[in-house]
């Protein structure tokens, strides 16, 4: 069993990835609160964590759940948009477009998480699978289904 590193190390190493997926999943505003909720939940559970070999996957799973909670609390509905507007790009990262991300937010949880992890956090399939607790195949499928649905919704 790998011993648990000081939580500060976990925070230093993975906060950017967690913030990345949260901004993708709930937008910039909600991300701040979801970020704190994610790390509070992680800190609560941390001493009893059995396996420290994939802390990043563990944190991303928690973040994913917090994003779902956030959407539930907001009672978000999909906002249909006619076409995907051009989005100005800053620092190589597209600015979060409300229409697009609202549509992402309306996807079923697995598809939404897969899309957010792939395009919000730029994670490879293997890591998406680890974060979702499924096989890489299943992750690829969720991503594919999610994208198909988005294309349909956004025309």
């Amino acid at each position: 069993m790998t011993p648990l590193p000081p939580f500060q190390t976990v925070l230093d190493e993975h906060s950017a990835a967690v913030m990345g997926i949260l901004r993708g999943a709930v937008g910039r505003e909600g991300a701040e609160d979801c970020f704190q909720e994610t790390f509070l939940a992680a800190l609560r559970a941390y001493p009893k964590l059995q396996d420290a070999s994939n802390l990043r996957g563990w944190l991303l799973t928690i973040a994913h759940r917090k994003a779902i909670d956030h959407h539930r609390a907001r009672g978000r509905r999909p906002i249909p948009v006619a076409e995907m507007p051009e989005v100005p790009v800053e620092n190589g990262m597209p600015d979060l477009d409300q229409g697009l991300w609202a549509a992402v937010g309306a996807l079923p949880p697995k598809q939404r998480a897969a899309v957010a992890l792939r395009y919000g956090s730029d994670l490879p399939h293997a890591e998406i699978a680890a974060a979702l607790g499924c096989s890489p195949e299943a992750a690829r499928r969720s991503l594919h289904e999610g994208l198909k649905r988005l294309r349909k919704e956004l025309g």
């Binding site: 648990l4 000081p6 500060q8 906060s15 950017a16 704190q36 800190l43």
Partner: protein
């Protein structure tokens, strides 16, 4: 692609963690005339002082294993410790008034350290005397190693323990530091060979 995070978000998380009682070990680093110190406390009190020549990353890993993995950098929690240490280094404080957490030392070692903690400012004692005070006069070597393993140096003043005859003995922070601390307290130069 680098995601930047507002420092306020991280601070907010830590404040909420403290509020919820999740800050098992709070630490910070603090300047001293000898270099950077690592200060760590639990809810019971000061648990660890890392001296400048010690590897603070390793100390934090040890704390995570021996106390709790909920170890977070939280300078605010250690303001009082820093304040008293600053005053001490300026020669303006001759007695620390800080709650201590002794959990990193057990049994005989802890008894030795508690005895050391009662040596007044500006005075010295021998390893033999510390062994006697801890209940076993013959365990001089064990008393010496208890000093050497002191998890809370400076505040628990193991630098005030010398060899019988007055030789400096050892110090975790290096002998020059021990000497400088004794000079600060006005001990050295008076009767080092008594």
């Amino acid at each position: 692609m680098k995601t930047t995070i507002d420092p306020g978000t991280i601070e907010g998380f830590k404040a909420r963690a403290a509020e919820e009682g999740l800050l098992d070990v709070a630490y910070t680093s603090a300047d001293s005339p000898f270099g950077a110190l690592l200060l760590a406390k639990t809810r019971r009190g000061l648990v660890r002082v890392g001296l400048p020549n010690q590897d603070s990353d390793q100390l934090l890993v040890d704390l995570a294993e021996r106390v709790s993995p909920r170890v977070l950098e939280a300078p605010k929690e250690l303001e009082e410790v820093r304040r008293e240490l600053d005053l001490y280094f300026e020669g303006k404080l001759d007695r620390f008034d800080l709650p201590l957490d002794w959990r990193l030392s057990g049994g005989f070692r802890q008894r030795v350290l508690r005895a050391i903690n009662r040596i007044p400012y500006g005075q010295t004692r021998s390893y033999t005397e510390m062994a006697r005070r801890a209940g076993n006069e013959r365990a001089v070597r064990a008393a010496g190693s208890a000093c050497g393993s002191n998890p809370i140096p400076l505040v628990v003043p193991c630098h005030r323990v010398l060899r019988t005859g007055g030789a400096l003995g050892g110090y975790g922070g290096g002998l020059p530091m021990k000497q400088a601390l004794l000079e600060l307290e006005g001990v050295l130069g008076e009767s080092p060979a008594a």
